[in-house]
């Protein structure tokens, strides 16, 4: 069975989703989905170990050989993404038991878990596939299920947010589809490795350029690249807490991964950064996103919204690393994908606990909450420090790599900018901490229910993530080794 792990990685949650529909009983479905998520995570870890110990793994579906059939490719880059996605999904499941039950109508719970597993299957599929069109299909599987997941939020604004995301997301996916269609017209193939080979002599063609533009903008919409991020804040704010955890930790990162795959493996480094001004574009977009969205985050009154804008800002760091066009910069980006998944899902987990007990994520409702929910807020602080990039947290590691990459490249102002924007993060995280720790509970609006500490089933996942933030801050050798190899693989492939 070991040889089949790449395909099991995707089809396990895919098969489990319809089984959830047949099971129907909410608790039973939850138990089943949890087992599936944990198994999926185990598979991804085994794959990562296999890949780090040897060559990339290829799996031909239906035994159709590469350019004709669909191939799943697990290399160090995709293995890393698989571990992140399935790991966050597995950690969020125990949390979902109480959190989802309190925020989603009971007769819809089994559908929620079905959609969750479908979304997981889609995200894993994007990470593992070596076929450009297959990527589109998985992109849409994950997107359609995430629109549904977001619309399950209690507030009616969730519906509007989901609709906006649906329109923007569909435009993004369709633009990607146009790009792939143009590449197919040019080369007659959809396999990424084959595309790269056949595209090499055609890079000057205007069709290549058009396809490149469509794909970058299309995936840019999906990954919430700065001016295309408008769907994200509402979607993350109004979705049920578990969905925020899962999507904030994975969705945009997987889209960024897809963009990197296409940029490096199909078009190649030389085309992206020497013939096309991708360095400048990404740098501008990254800086604008970092500064503007961090500033906007400072003025929000809803914790989830603060974190959502911070997510857009943090994508700036990842794009900035790519803009350096060096292996070190790319490694910093990949590291930040990993660390940001950890810290942002940790923050959303803590907020999920707060929402369960206070019924709201408005700052005004959280005055003095730290006295009643000390463990939850402590986890929030740990992950918040990680977001800021304080030493001995995971967030510090990726910023350290990013600053070193900026210095190595000789882009001094960017190194300064990374530090400056971290200070903006201090401000918006501090606002939450100040309210939660230093305001009296009497500041809450009249009629707020008294809060108690969150149940263990939610605290444990929160603290697993918080502890991981500290662990990977103290000993980053594993993620550093993986990302170093991944960056080398990406830079080398197109060179």
């Amino acid at each position: 069975m070991l040889a089949h792990l790449p395909v099991l990685q995707v089809i396990l949650p895919l098969i489990a989703a319809p089984v959830c529909i047949l099971l129907r009983r909410a608790t039973l479905v939850w138990l089943f989905a949890t087992v599936v998520c944990v198994l999926t995570f185990a598979i991804s870890v085994v794959l990562l170990v296999q890949v780090m110990g040897g060559e990339p793994i290829r799996y031909e579906l239906g035994n159709w050989v590469a350019p004709w059939g669909i191939v799943y490719v697990v290399d160090s880059v995709s293995a890393l993404i698989l571990v992140i996605v399935s790991g966050i999904a597995a950690v969020a499941m125990p949390f979902a038991l109480r959190s989802a039950a309190s925020e989603i109508e009971p007769d819809r719970l089994y559908l929620f878990y079905t959609m969750y597993l479908l979304c997981l299957a889609g995200l894993l599929g994007i990470a593992i596939t070596g076929d450009a069109f297959n990527l589109f299909v998985f992109l849409e599987i994950s997107s359609l299920s995430s629109y549904t997941l977001i619309s399950l939020g209690r507030n009616r604004k969730a519906l509007h947010a989901a609709f906006q995301y649906l329109v923007m997301g569909t435009i993004g996916a369709t633009l990607y589809l146009i790009g792939i269609g143009l590449l197919y017209a040019l080369t007659g193939t959809l396999n990424m490795a084959d595309l790269a080979v056949r595209l090499a002599p055609l890079l000057d063609s205007r069709i290549t350029l058009a396809a490149f533009g469509f794909i970058v903008v299309g995936l840019g919409l999906k990954l919430a690249m700065f001016p295309l991020h408008l769907w994200l804040p509402n979607a993350y704010t109004h979705s049920p807490s578990v969905v925020s955890v899962f999507l904030a930790g994975t969705a945009t990162k997987v889209s960024l991964y897809a963009l990197l795959r296409i940029l490096y493996d199909v078009f190649g480094v030389r085309f992206d950064f020497e013939q096309q001004p991708m360095s400048a574009l990404f740098a501008i977009v990254a800086v604008a996103g970092l500064v503007i969205c961090s500033l906007v985050a400072m003025y929000q009154q809803n914790v989830k919204r603060i974190l959502a804008f911070s997510s857009v800002a943090q994508i700036g760091y990842m794009l900035l690393g790519v803009a350096f066009a060096t292996a070190a910069g790319l490694q910093a980006s990949l590291l930040h994908i990993f660390n940001h998944a950890l810290l942002k899902s940790g923050l959303f987990l803590a907020v999920g606990c707060l929402v369960l007990r206070t019924g709201s994520s408005q700052l005004a409702n959280l005055s003095g909450i730290a006295r009643e929910m000390p463990w939850t807020m402590a986890a929030f602080v740990v992950c918040g420090l990680s977001l800021i990039g304080v030493p001995a947290t995971a967030g510090f590691i990726s910023k350290w790599y990013l600053v070193s990459a900026a210095i190595e490249k000789g882009w001094w102002p960017f190194a300064a900018l990374i530090v400056a924007t971290s200070l903006l993060a201090v401000i918006y995280i501090w606002r939450v901490i100040e309210v939660a720790y230093f305001r009296p509970a009497s500041d809450r609006p009249a009629g707020s229910p008294p809060a108690t500490e969150a149940p263990l089933s939610m605290l444990v996942p929160t603290w697993i993530i918080a502890a991981a933030n500290i662990w990977f801050g103290l000993d980053a050798s594993a993620p550093a080794a993986i990302t170093a190899r991944a960056a080398k693989a990406l830079m080398g492939a197109g060179g």
């Binding site: 299909v137 849409e140 509007h160 989901a162 329109v167 369709t174």
Partner: protein, 119 residues
């Protein structure tokens, strides 16, 4: 010049439909209308793919004796998948519109935005 316009008429149709759809999505306040625009936008891509698959003088790609030249079936298969995705998107979008109508009492985006900002 005539070659550019008439010889490539299918591409012109694709471009026109694409822009019409995109404009409708961007400009309409009515949620159903923007979904219609989205559909037109997607349809233009379907036509683009089908255009790509056409081989001049080729017949339908069915295995028959005596037929050598046939259209490329792959784009058709790809676009069948994309059509299914489009149908799902439309169904989900309309379902959301129905729920929005029930929750807000309107499907005009500016009114919904106003209500969102008030609460």
């Amino acid at each position: 010049m005539t070659d550019l316009i008439i010889g490539l008429y299918n591409y012109w149709i694709v471009i026109i439909l694409m822009m019409v759809g995109f404009y409708i999505v961007m400009s309409r306040q009515n949620l159903v209308k923007s979904l219609i625009g989205l559909n037109i936008f997607q349809t233009s891509v379907f036509i683009l793919y089908i255009t790509l698959g056409k081989v001049t003088g080729g017949t339908a790609p069915i295995l028959e004796k005596g037929i050598k030249l046939y259209s490329n079936p792959l784009p058709h298969v790809l676009i069948l998948t994309a059509i299914v995705v489009g149908v799902s998107t439309t169904a989900l979008g309309l379902a959301l519109v129905v729920r929005i109508k029930e929750a807000y009492g309107t499907i005009e985006e500016n009114e919904i935005n106003r209500m969102d900002n008030e609460s």
